[in-house]
Amino acid sequence: MTTALIILIGTIVTYVIYRASKVVYKKWPMPFFHPLLLCPLILIGIIQLSHLQPSDYALSSSLWTHMLGPATVAFAIPIYKHAPLLRKNIMIILTSIAAGTLVAIGSSLLLSLVMRFNGDLLISILPRSITTPIAIEVSKTIGGLPTLTTVFVIVTGVTGGIIGPYVIRLMALKSPVARGLALGMGAHGVGTNKAMEYGEQEGTFSTIGMIMAAAMTLIWGGLLIPSLLNITIL
């Protein structure tokens, strides 16, 4: 089979199963049916049954993976449309995300120590709550394994997309700024996708939360994390 044909098949199969998963989730909105859980599980099943290599699938679906780049660029649209709203709330955004990023790194570190995780695993898990490309950068900076970090970022996204609405209800988050920032900070793009379901304002705050979280974690990765690791591991 030619590469073009492989990509054509992979693109279509992935899309069809993704669409079907979305329909299922809409009809039965249970955590287990979340599209980012159900769709990959079905695909994994197909790959295993048909004795394909995971790398074959990665190649065949590379068009969709590629779209993550342009999609990140497209986040400029909600920011542009709601620039005045963001300017008005800039202090809330900066304070909440500063708190969020520190809690993300701190809680991951503490829980890793409690669960006795060792070097690579511990370091790679620290930048997990930010968007994949930047998480990889931070992971490299602090001496983690980028591929492992990617897995943790995905698991964070799936988890966050599922528990996000529960956190919002439990914490009685009423304002779009609080809802959006919680989702964008906690579960990067997947959280932002959820935030857009709440409304355009939630989506915008989530987008800016996700970007700020990435920027701040990039800074912590250079300054704070190395000294934290020195204290805790040595």
């Binding site: 779209m67 342009p70 542009y80 809690v103 591929t147 995905i154 988050l173 920032l181 970007i211």
Partner: protein, 126 residues
């Protein structure tokens, strides 16, 4: 239908121009930031400067953002490459991420909600 497809594809092309410009710039200047984020900044600046009109990219941009989960699917399937974490420690890791994500969302949302209410109250008394 044909017209819609052409609109969508040409808008996608414009967004790609910014994406590749961002990737190129990040590479040339060896920035510590991914090209897609540089592309985001470039597009944002172009929108503010009026070089790009919102209507030129809004349809395709809206589609990209709405279908974001689809673009994560291949990475999620990529977990297959890490069969070794599908053990007890893997389960522990998922538990860790669940607890931590819960705390992070709660802390972020709590801070924002408190500040928002305080700001609104302050606004009323002034």
């Amino acid at each position: 239908m044909v017209r819609k497809t052409i609109t969508m594809l040409s808008q996608l092309a414009i967004i790609h121009v910014f994406y590749f410009a961002g990737v190129g710039l990040a590479h040339i200047l060896s920035l510590p930031v991914p090209g897609s984020i540089v592309g985001l900044v470039l597009l944002l600046l172009s929108l503010f400067a009026g070089i790009v009109k919102l209507e030129w990219i809004e349809k395709a941009g809206g589609w990209l953002l709405a279908e974001l989960l689809l673009f994560f699917v291949p990475s999620a399937v990529g977990i297959l490459n890490y069969k070794e974490i599908l053990n007890w420690q893997g389960l522990e890791t998922v538990l860790l991420i669940l607890i931590s994500t819960f705390i992070v969302m709660a802390a972020t949302g709590f801070t924002a909600e408190k500040l928002y209410r305080r700001k609104r109250k302050g606004g009323h008394t002034q």
